[in-house]
Symmetry: C2
Subunit: 430 residues, 2 copies
Amino acid sequence: MEQFISPKKEAWKALLERPTASYKDLEPLVEEVFEAVKTNGDDAVRKYTKKFDGVTKETLRVSSAEIQTAIQRVSPELKASICLAKDNIERFHQAQRTATVRVTTQNGVECWQEKRPIQNVGLYIPGGSAPLFSTILMLAVPAQIAGCSEIVMCSPPDKNGALPDVVLYTANLCGIEKIYTVGGIQAIAAMTFGTESIPNVYKLFGPGNQYVTVAKQWATRFNMAIDMPAGPSELLVVADATANPAYIAADLLSQAEHGPDSQVILVTTATSILSAVQREITTQLERLPRKAIAEKAIANSKIIAFSTDAEAIDFINQYGPEHYIICMENEDDYINAIQNAGSVFVGNYTPESAGDYASGTNHTLPTNGYAKQYSGVNLDSFLKQMTFQKLSAEGIKGIGPAIEAMAEAEGLQAHKNAVTLRLNDLKNES
Amino acid sequence: MEQFISPKKEAWKALLERPTASYKDLEPLVEEVFEAVKTNGDDAVRKYTKKFDGVTKETLRVSSAEIQTAIQRVSPELKASICLAKDNIERFHQAQRTATVRVTTQNGVECWQEKRPIQNVGLYIPGGSAPLFSTILMLAVPAQIAGCSEIVMCSPPDKNGALPDVVLYTANLCGIEKIYTVGGIQAIAAMTFGTESIPNVYKLFGPGNQYVTVAKQWATRFNMAIDMPAGPSELLVVADATANPAYIAADLLSQAEHGPDSQVILVTTATSILSAVQREITTQLERLPRKAIAEKAIANSKIIAFSTDAEAIDFINQYGPEHYIICMENEDDYINAIQNAGSVFVGNYTPESAGDYASGTNHTLPTNGYAKQYSGVNLDSFLKQMTFQKLSAEGIKGIGPAIEAMAEAEGLQAHKNAVTLRLNDLKNES
């Protein structure tokens, strides 16, 4: 990893930069698939599944029999692990429920805010090299707690046209009944428009490759909401001399193995740890099955040393990391000062893997600097807030004249009139 | 208004439809302005202000002297009305604060969720025919409560190159210091990239014409978040024989005067009120200064009668109105059943105008069916949720083996290794 010791402010811009991949050239393909699925439904989905996944699927929905078979093939140990993770995720997301907010803003004017579930949601679970069943927990558990009435899940078929056993086990454990062996652009298009077998949804969740990313963005042209914009995963570790170099290296590598474009940054106020960290990275890297991937990511990664906490904190807030590990003696200062981060991991016993799988926090997080304005997926991601108000005669008498004056000043006479009519009636009654 | 009595389900699709305006042909212009502002900053902003607003502005930011002069010119009555509205909006949005969510998901695993403000936000206040100062209250008040550190406001100049007095008064009242006489695409581009005088922001709020709508959407290509997608404003009233036909007509017209594309729908379970409502609309319309606009909107609007509450509720939920007035004897049934609506107004003394200005609820709401998946602007719109976790030695021992098993099953060995290293150290210690 390249090292930058006490970089001047002028040099920060380059250090803060993310790779900006543009997928604009994928848009014509995405548009083509969307048009086809909109017009031809399941037939188009089958056609593109054949074309992109090399698989012929007559039935897109996974049957109960297939699910039952899959459940039996998952080892009891893995099942127990998934159940432990699910319990913790459930506990943390359940605690995120909020009560109705009810305020009498002035006499006779009652306002309240309630959250109600987004009725139909779609979960996209990527396939490819690994079965990402942990993402099912992260999306389906809060969707169920929120009370979404229809949860649709799509995931691409493997070369035999099936979904991995553990994916089906986890989906079933989370109470998802509508599981489709469909991936890529055609899955996103199907959940956007609905087909004969795949229902349309109001909001799409889940990560994916660049095709899925562009397709989710494209879906927003058709009244779809999405969880958040996507980008390569990233981790920033801030560490001082109290941190363990082996743990730091292991955490950096756990991010690096995601993909060659993963962003990994170590910020430190103690240059004394640097050689030990670099040595640990080299040693640990050798043993990784995904060494080729991690090596590329590490080559693009940076170690940045600052002489003060203030500078380090300023840099971290300007970067806005998706995952942020704090291994500092004065950890509370760093916790209190963080303005922009997806999920924060505090102390030597809190690897990113904990939140990726089992601590209870969500692992679907804003990356690419989006932590500045987006929340990670949480219970509210599956709810929307609605406001209500009820005025009594006293209420309208109290705020009516102010509404009349403001509507008049905005040139909206009919807005004023809706109040005047009522006020006149109340005057005549009394 | 056209009437539909007991429409069959097959006919609903047409009744639920919104006008779908596509602004795709505006994209080349938006792209041009964005590129110019990105490259030439203030110079480009000035050039397009001259071109689109017909005004030459050397200084884009409004000076304190201009603000002070404006404040003196607003009438005390209007000031008092705005203050009353601001108080109510403040009270309701203040109550939306939530405490930190803190959960020990299992022994030694502490997870918490905190909300922190989006640091830089941009408020777009449209100009044009009327000075929409009420929107400043709706956006600036929650931004201040959230604690956003930089609030930037842009609004287009009138033909004399100025902003209306009441706009400056309200912005100042809400503590906004950075006010720019810049509108349209160039305002959105300036807040996206930043210029010499206008800071860039992380999230954009506020309504606007089709140019602003497309520009906000375009800004999302450059790491910008937006409050919500835009569309014509709309109102659905559900009323039975206990409702007052004059009030219903006044409420429908208050929505209709917004623009010729406003969507106005009356759903009723009592056909007995229909002739009185139609008569009231005709009479009241005659007296409106914005009659020409309201008349066009009313001509496209619909009255739909259902014979049962269940059908009415089903229809309303499928429509998902931005504004929803309930004037029904069994109002609680309708309140409890609503799944998709922006803001709900209950009873004969609660016109939409109340929420537009002064009850305390927000008037920046999801339209065009987006109530199915979007919240209206609320305190959370200016915050993002971050999660934190801290594991003790006991904590990692408790969940470590589950993480190892899951990481292994996902083929992510480095994720597993980050846990294994720590568990081995703990074993050796004990």
